[in-house]
Amino acid sequence: MKDRGLCRTLSNVESVTLARQRRFEAIAAEVAEPVLRYALRRAEAHTADDVLAETLLVAWRRLEEIPADGALPWCYAVARNCLANLARSARRQQNLVERLVLLAPPVEVAEVADAPDPRLHRALMKLRDQDRELLRLSAWEDLTPHEIAIVLGLKASTVSVRLHRARQRLATLLKHPCKIGSPSGQEQVCKEVRDDR
């Protein structure tokens, strides 16, 4: 009797833990590479690796909350929060360094030079964070407005409108390439775009 009970207990323990493990592994197999790609597009490699690990940990702990038909946007939202937390931490450190050594914040010269389309990259960097993120989620993560809405916590209709406006703003910036890179011209264009909102 005891042996039978023991076998049944062991079998049940294994089935429950394995079922949870398998679901997590299936989700991880689906989302890990896209999430790492998402992070690499927005941060350096070592940071991106941390973001992926943290995202997977959150997914493991909150496995029961992950929607069956929307695991990837759910994980993008987690990764986005991780990046935001890391950015806040980096800003705090940077502020401390600046106060200590009175250095100006570094410009993103290296990042622009490495970008596949430097002019586009410069234009992107002049957009508001939310506009930039909308455009990247659509073009690079290839998400629909509905999926973007999950990531950003917005309504899909709002995403569609904001996405269209963000493309307009980017197109406006791209139409003035001569002014991009000129300190005075750059300020003027950016001011025009901001005033346009």
Binding site: G5, L6, N12, V16, R167
Partner: protein, 221 residues
């Protein structure tokens, strides 16, 4: 600005993707290492421990769990979110995005088997923490072979308003904590379950400060 210019901007953005989708970025070995690390990460530690040997960690943890639980009669079935939970699916989907309904949502659980408490292991938070379902609730109704518990807190694996626990006899007596526990109207209980079946052997029981502390420790992640 037209849709045509929208698509032009979109195309240019896609072409400028710094990490194109056709470029692999995550070797299988790294993914497997991450998965094993994550699944063995406790709530207070960080997941990205690249230098920790993790290859066999999951198997080790599983073996430890088996050793701890082996002499027990902890009968486990499906919790929410597990694949085998579908047969015991609560009436409310287990996603955070599920649409709230005005009616009270319920989850059904079964009692441990009658011979479940032949011998119990020493209680351990490590055993408790792997359980997919855990909550605290107060008995709102007893009758018809069912105990209805109003859930006041979900530790893991559910969001239903009520849990319906079937009982083997009309007296609503269920074997918990190594002995028979009679669910009484208005009393509060801490319940863990797996596979749709309530755990006994101290993994569920009448609410107490010590058991609540154990639940908090187990499910704090």
């Amino acid at each position: 600005m037209t849709d045509e210019s929208d698509s032009g901007v979109e195309s240019r953005l896609r072409a400028a993707d710094p990490v194109p989708a056709d470029r692999p970025v995550l070797p299988d070995a790294r993914l497997h290492e991450l998965l094993e690390t994550v699944m063995n990460t406790t709530s207070n530690s960080t997941p990205n421990n690249r230098h920790r040997p993790v290859r066999t960690a999951w198997l080790t943890a599983a073996a430890v769990l088996v050793v701890i639980v082996a002499p027990a009669s902890v009968y486990l079935l499906a919790g929410r979110g597990t694949d085998d939970a579908q047969a015991n699916t609560p009436s409310q989907p287990a996603t955070a995005q599920s649409t709230p309904t005005p009616a009270k949502t319920t989850m059904k659980l079964a009692p441990p088997a009658a011979d479940a408490q032949q011998s119990c292991p020493v209680f351990s938070v490590d055993v408790l923490k792997v359980m997919p379902t855990a909550f605290s609730g107060t008995v709102a109704k007893v009758g018809g072979g069912v105990v209805t518990l109003d859930v006041d807190h979900w530790y893991r694996g559910g969001n239903a308003d009520q849990v319906l626990l079937s009982t083997p006899d009309p007296s609503a007596t269920v074997a918990l904590r190594g002995g028979a526990v009679s669910f009484a109207l208005g009393d509060r209980y801490l319940i863990s379950a797996a596979g749709g079946v309530v755990n006994d052997c101290d993994l569920s029981g009448t609410w107490s400060t010590s058991l609540e502390l154990a639940f908090k420790q187990a499910f704090s992640g």
